[in-house]
């Protein structure tokens, strides 16, 4: 099926992570223009090398360094993107981080880091990108949440709280901006094979058949396909304020 994403301008955070790089790859394969907002330029080189190993052209992928906790910096970067590409069709909020530790042992900086990275930065960026989307009278926002937003686990209290916040953000923003033809949806990945989930994978190996109906971890591609589905007006033009759980049946 043609998702009609050719030359759509996609802004993406977390593009150098396990799920994010696959989302980049899939958008590029659909012919979209991908702008990765990254913290460190060297990570973008690694991403381009990885894409090249998959024989995916890097001609339409760009990077802008951006501090997602600095509203002025975000504004400048979004203006630069608009200056160059004229519009922003799709925003994918995929940046995230987790520190696994019992809540009682976390210090304030850990809590700040997880709430900021997983929630505040995403809000600041979305707020700025709504400007061009309002003007275009069109846009799609896909948030990469987590299954932990609705089913918790040990050692991830602030992360789960932030992701639950992201879910509420998704739902309520969808209500606010729907009439302006801007769709807001989210995916909730469960345990996906990435660097971020390695410690979990090591711990859960023997429990996986019980925990997941499908009996295995998910693959980044199984998440990215859902992100593209929600991004495309061909497949999701009447879908907003909703969530796709990609968890192998973890919450059933």
């Amino acid at each position: 099926m043609n998702l009609k994403l050719e030359d759509k301008v996609v802004v993406l955070t977390g593009g150098t992570g396990g799920i994010g790089q696959q989302i980049c790859a899939d958008f590029l394969e659909e012919g979209a223009i991908v702008i990765c907002l990254i913290r460190k330029a060297e990570k973008f080189e690694k991403l381009k090398n990885w894409l090249s190993t998959k024989t995916i052209s890097t001609a339409k992928i760009y990077a802008n360094t951006c501090n997602l906790l600095d509203a002025n910096n975000i504004k400048a970067v979004v203006n630069e993107v608009i200056e160059t590409h004229k519009r922003i069709d799709i925003l994918v909020n995929c940046a995230g981080s987790v520190v696994e530790m019992p809540f009682a042992l976390l210090d304030e900086s850990h809590i700040d880091q997880m709430l900021n990275t997983n929630l505040k930065g995403m809000m600041l960026l979305t707020q700025e990108i709504l400007r061009p989307m309002f003007r275009q009278k069109e846009g799609a926002i896909v948030n990469v949440s987590s299954i932990t937003a609705i089913k918790g686990g040990r050692g991830i209290v602030p992360y789960a709280a932030a992701k639950a916040g992201m879910d509420a953000f998704t739902r309520t923003l969808a209500i606010e901006v729907g009439r302006k033809n801007i769709r807001v949806n989210a995916v909730r990945p469960g345990a996906i094979e990435t660097e971020m989930s390695k410690p979990l994978e090591a711990r859960m190996d023997k429990y996986i058949p019980d925990a997941m109906i499908l009996g295995r971890f998910g693959k980044p591609k199984e998440v990215s396909k859902a992100v593209l589905f929600l991004s495309s007006n061909e497949t999701a033009s009447y879908i907003t304020g909703t969530f796709i759980n990609i968890d192998g049946g973890f919450i059933v």
Binding site: L130, R131, F134, R135, K137, E176, V177, R179, K180
Partner: protein, 136 residues
């Protein structure tokens, strides 16, 4: 910047945002009650005007100007505009009917009274501010 020129663009922006035909939009129409603008339309309208004029617009600009003029005297207390605040607003925005600027009016309710002219004046104020900044 002339009011008439800004008005033409404001009419177009309101039409694009709400679907109200521009030829029916009058300077004295209130945005919320008479033109059916809601808070999200207002955001849309402000974003578009910002883009057209390359300015940063805040609906609270009027409030900021009132506060600046009033110095130490309070403009509002717990969200309710003081009688002195209402007087200053009346001077800044004579287009708002005096009988609506009554005691007990809240900062939030004031926005609901804004007319097309109020919006034009906010745009003009911000354009002139930007020009002043450039000159300095």
């Amino acid at each position: 910047m002339e009011l008439a020129a800004v008005l033409e663009k404001v009419k177009t922006v309101i039409e694009n945002s709400t679907g109200t035909p521009r030829e029916t939009i009058q300077l004295e129409h209130t945005l919320f009650d008479e033109l059916g603008v809601d808070s999200i339309d207002l955001v849309d309208i402000l974003f578009e005007l910002e883009f057209l004029y390359k300015i940063q617009l805040k609906i609270s600009d009027i409030e900021s100007r009132a506060r600046a003029k009033m110095g130490d005297e309070p403009y509002e207390i717990d969200g309710t505009i003081t009688p002195a605040g209402l007087q200053v607003i009346g001077e800044f925005m004579p287009e708002i009917s005096k009988d609506k600027l009554v005691e007990g009016l809240t900062v939030h309710q004031l926005v609901q009274l804004f007319t097309v002219e109020s919006l034009c004046k906010i745009v003009i104020y911000r354009i002139e501010e930007e020009e002043r900044k450039k000159e300095n």
